[in-house]
């Protein structure tokens, strides 16, 4: 039983092992991990909704190699990202930067939540006010007369 499972797991893991050609990898595991982290944040320009880490487009491979070279040369993450952004624009960042241009993008959801909250609050307040007004207003003479008539009617039965 255990053997069969081991075989299945090995089968499932095989494509993972093949995901990238081995010659790309850096020998220092810490640097390799950083390079992967950076690559995951960069958009592949050919197949636009994949990161360069996930894509096997030739351009993505070239960019991965550049990321690894720069990491190996001791650049920090920000410097590597800046290098690619300088050439391909901020659009290559899968996670947009928090700056003035992207303010609406970042704060949009919170903004809509606040607007929604205000609308709900206003509607509730109006409803409550209407209920309160209805409860507080005494019956007019005409209403009083009709109520009495109805009560009399039921009593009469």
């Amino acid at each position: 039983m255990l053997k069969r499972f081991a075989f299945l797991i090995a089968l499932l893991a095989a494509p993972l092992a093949q995901a990238q050609p081995l010659d790309e990898h850096l020998s220092d595991p810490a640097q390799e991990a950083r390079a992967r982290e950076i690559s995951r944040e960069l958009r592949c320009l050919v197949c636009q909704n994949q990161s360069i880490e996930d894509s096997n487009a030739p351009l993505a491979r070239d960019l991965r190699r550049i990321v690894r070279e720069r990491v190996a040369a001791g650049e920090d993450d920000q410097a590597v990202l800046d290098y690619v952004v300088a050439r391909y624009g901020e659009w290559v960042l899968l996670k947009p930067r928090f700056n003035l241009q992207n303010l609406l993008l970042w704060l949009g959801p919170a903004l809509f939540l606040v607007i929604g909250g205000i609308v709900v609050y206003a509607v509730l307040r109006r409803q409550r006010a209407a209920q309160a007004a209805a409860a507080a207003a005494p019956l007019s003479a005409e209403e009083q007369r009709r109520l009495q008539a109805l009560l009399n009617e039921t009593e009469g039965q």
């Binding site: 320009l45 050919v46 636009q48 030739p58 351009l59 070239d62 960019l63 550049i66 952004v85 300088a86 050439r87 391909y88 624009g89 901020e90 659009w91």
Partner: protein
């Protein structure tokens, strides 16, 4: 009728217009980060069988120029090629070729068969210089002014419309030393 009932209708129309505009945009067209910036530092040997290579200094020589990123394996390059040949005949500005990740024998044959519109060619075998230029899809065409600043970038094959309405007017304005109104 109360005005509040109109709110959903107005919202619907606004969102509809927004989405309709979104549909007409081309997501493949990425605004170039390099427009208005100087051309990257590079120096490339010529394509096999040609004499003049391409480097940064060639693009800062005082005359505006056109830099076309091409490859023999690129089918759309073949489509736009006659337009480049036409531009070269008109001699508005020198056209330089940046040969992206190509096989030396293939590109040499390609230029011999289809004609060579380029004054200079640079053979970018490993695509490194292409990345410096922010190239992501061949063909790409750059208009560079005499001081070596990138003024326009066109991604994908040029059409006759692009050449007549963007490339030529911009090159003419740059040659005349005028501030150009051409939108790129």
């Amino acid at each position: 009728m109360r005005l509040a009932y109109l709110v959903p209708l107005v919202l619907f129309v606004l969102i509809g217009i927004g989405l309709a505009v979104g549909l007409t945009l081309n997501p493949r067209e990425i605004p170039s980060a390099l427009i208005g910036k100087p051309v990257p530092e590079f120096s490339l040997p010529p394509v096999e069988g040609r004499k003049e290579g391409l480097s940064t200094a060639d693009l800062k020589a005082g005359t505006p120029s056109l830099v076309n990123v091409f490859a023999s394996w690129c089918v759309p390059c073949r489509i736009e090629h006659p337009l480049l040949m036409g531009l070269a005949r008109e001699q508005i500005a020198p056209i330089h070729g940046l040969n992206y990740k190509d096989n030396p024998a293939d590109v040499s044959k390609w230029l011999d068969q289809l004609g060579d519109p380029f004054q200079r060619t640079g053979a970018d075998r490993d695509g490194r210089v292409g990345i410096e230029w922010g190239v992501y899809g061949v063909p790409e065409t750059f208009v560079v002014d005499g001081q070596g600043q990138i003024r326009c970038k066109h991604v994908g094959p040029l059409t006759e419309w692009d050449v007549e309405n963007k490339i030529k007017p911009l090159l003419r304005d740059l040659t005349a030393g005028k501030e150009s109104a051409v939108k790129c």
